[in-house]
């Protein structure tokens, strides 16, 4: 567009919009990050200092399918976002507890202790620090050979 000069007013206006757009971009990214953040929650029915494990209980996370836990059992569920809904139904007296718990952004691994949840005492949801967190789940030897042509399926194009 030679010769078409944009008036300073329009230019300022556009600058504003572009800045706004940048903000929106960052906003979206954080939104995706926050709402999409996935957590692995270990649902634990072991005895704790305060309360002892429940004899039998049905647990549903975010209205998902129900997990049946007996005393000392542990199971895991993956949840997404900032909070989770837990619904437990104790076999013994059929009491139903429904709780909404906030998920910390930082941790990927959380431990939910049902007894303390039932007892409603101190935070039932705590960061889980696995004993062998450092050791990766599966081993995988890696060497540059994996990249070289011989190993690749016939469809590989040349990688000089």
């Amino acid at each position: 567009m030679r010769g078409v000069s944009i008036s300073p007013k329009v230019r300022r206006h556009r600058l504003l919009i572009r800045v706004a757009l940048l903000a929106v971009y960052v906003g979206l990214a954080t939104l995706a990050f926050v709402t999409g953040k996935g957590h692995t929650v270990l649902i634990d029915n072991k005895d704790t200092e305060q309360a002892e494990g429940i004899d039998g209980v049905l647990v549903a996370v975010n209205g998902g399918e129900q997990l049946e836990l007996y005393r000392g059992d542990r199971d895991k569920a993956t949840v997404q976002g900032r909070s989770m809904r837990v619904r437990l139904e104790v076999f013994a007296d059929g009491t139903i507890v429904e709780k909404r718990l906030r998920l910390p952004l930082g941790q990927d691994m959380l431990l939910l202790s049902l007894p303390s949840l039932l007892a409603g005492s101190e935070p039932a949801l705590v960061p889980f620090v696995p004993a062998a967190a450092s050791a990766p789940v599966e081993e995988e030897a890696f060497s540059s050979e994996d990249l070289s042509e011989e190993e690749l399926p016939p469809l590989e194009p040349p990688a000089p």
Binding site: A29, K37, Q80, P136, V137, E140, E156, A159
Partner: protein, 374 residues
């Protein structure tokens, strides 16, 4: 022109498509696959690949040929995904996050690619191809050596046992098919990933609209004749760069869509095939180096992939070896690209000759080019 010539024209025009159609139809029978199965596969693969193939259109409009440099965008998309996995962001948000992260990277990559191609006018394709390899080297350096050592990677699960560098294959558990599943329409025996289709449709609308825009018009002008476009004041180089940038960014999104459907990411090889499949598809669809349309893309994806689905089994049945089918399909892929490039180069030479022949002998109306300034 005479009917005979125009018929011949038609065949050279659509030689690739015709050949391909024949081969595919011929190998459906021996493959022994049910039509339902094949159709379902097509529906899936349309969602998986169309976006990537559409990314090729703009550079073709801008006369830069087939953008083999789209691979750069694919790598950007993969880096986005790696981080999404690293922070364990799942679902559609994960994809969105990857796309948002990949976008600035692919912007930069596209700019680099465009600038390089401007220095290699007339050799765009081979240059783009080599550029893809070059950047691939840098990508590997970053992902294999810097990630985990310089670039912080929090999740040990995606790191190599040696403590830095990303694993060969990443499981995209969290985001697997989250876009496809978002709006899955069941239609009799078929499942249609409507959300993915919508995204693709949106892109198509954008491209159609873009052709109507001033920038699109400039691109066409540049594509037809850089010199004239330049003389009329169009910023030729800049326009070309923009074309490549858009294509690269689209390729970035396309790769993310592709991978979410695949469900896992071959960190170091996933992008190797991107441009190959995309280019083969668009050419099979009847596009040429200078001319391509959205229908070309759709037809191409369907044709190419239907062959890719049936050929291994056909090979198995006919030659008793699935490998033959495997080889055969990549032979076809490469062959198609070669063939249509040859046909194009050969045809364009013929066109110019025909154009000049009309001026031979005592013909009236001299040549349009003067001897220039003495």
């Amino acid at each position: 022109m005479s009917g005979k010539r125009s018929l011949g024209r038609f065949f050279t025009e659509y030689a690739v498509v015709i050949i391909f159609l024949v081969i595919t139809l011929a190998s459906i029978k021996p493959s022994g696959l049910s039509l339902v199965y094949i159709v379902q596969e097509m529906l899936i693969r349309l969602g998986r690949n169309s976006f990537l193939v559409l990314a090729l259109l703009l550079p073709i409009y801008a006369g830069m040929g087939l953008n083999f440099g789209m691979t750069l965008g694919a790598m950007a998309g993969q880096i986005g995904l790696i981080f999404a996995i690293n922070w364990n962001i799942s679902g559609v948000q994960g994809l969105a996050f990857a796309a948002l992260l990949g976008m600035p990277i692919s912007l930069a990559m596209g700019w680099v690619c465009g600038a390089v191609l401007n220095r290699a006018k007339g050799r765009e394709m081979v240059t783009g191809y080599i550029l893809a390899y070059f950047i691939n080297g840098i990508y590997q350096f970053i992902v294999l050596y810097l990630m985990g050592s310089v670039i912080p990677i929090t999740s040990p699960a995606i790191l190599l046992s040696r403590g830095y560098g990303i694993r060969n294959t990443l499981n995209l558990e969290g985001v697997r098919q989250s876009l496809d599943k978002l709006l899955l329409l069941r239609l009799g025996p078929f499942a249609l990933p409507m959300a993915t289709y919508m995204v693709i449709a949106l892109l198509c609308l954008f491209i159609i609209w873009f052709r109507k825009s001033k920038l699109g018009q400039d691109m066409r002008a540049v594509g037809h004749d850089m010199a004239v476009a330049g003389m009329s004041g169009i910023a030729v180089d800049q326009t070309r760069i923009v074309a490549i940038i858009i294509s690269t960014v689209l390729a970035c999104f396309g790769q993310i869509i592709f991978l979410q459907n695949m469900g896992n990411l071959a960190t170091y090889n996933a992008h190797d095939q991107t441009s190959f499949f995309a280019v083969a598809a668009i050419l099979v669809g009847g596009a040429s180096v200078k001319k391509a349309t959205i229908p070309n893309v759709i037809i191409g994806v369907v044709l190419l992939h239907s062959l890719f689905v049936v050929s291994p089994l056909a090979g198995q049945k006919l030659f008793g070896s699935a490998m033959i089918g495997e080889y055969f399909r990549s032979f076809i892929g490469y062959g198609v690209i070669a063939l249509s490039l040859v046909l194009y180069a050969w045809r364009s030479r013929r066109e110019t000759e025909r154009a000049r022949e009309s001026l031979r002998g005592g013909a009236s109306g001299a040549v349009a080019v003067g001897e220039g300034a003495p």
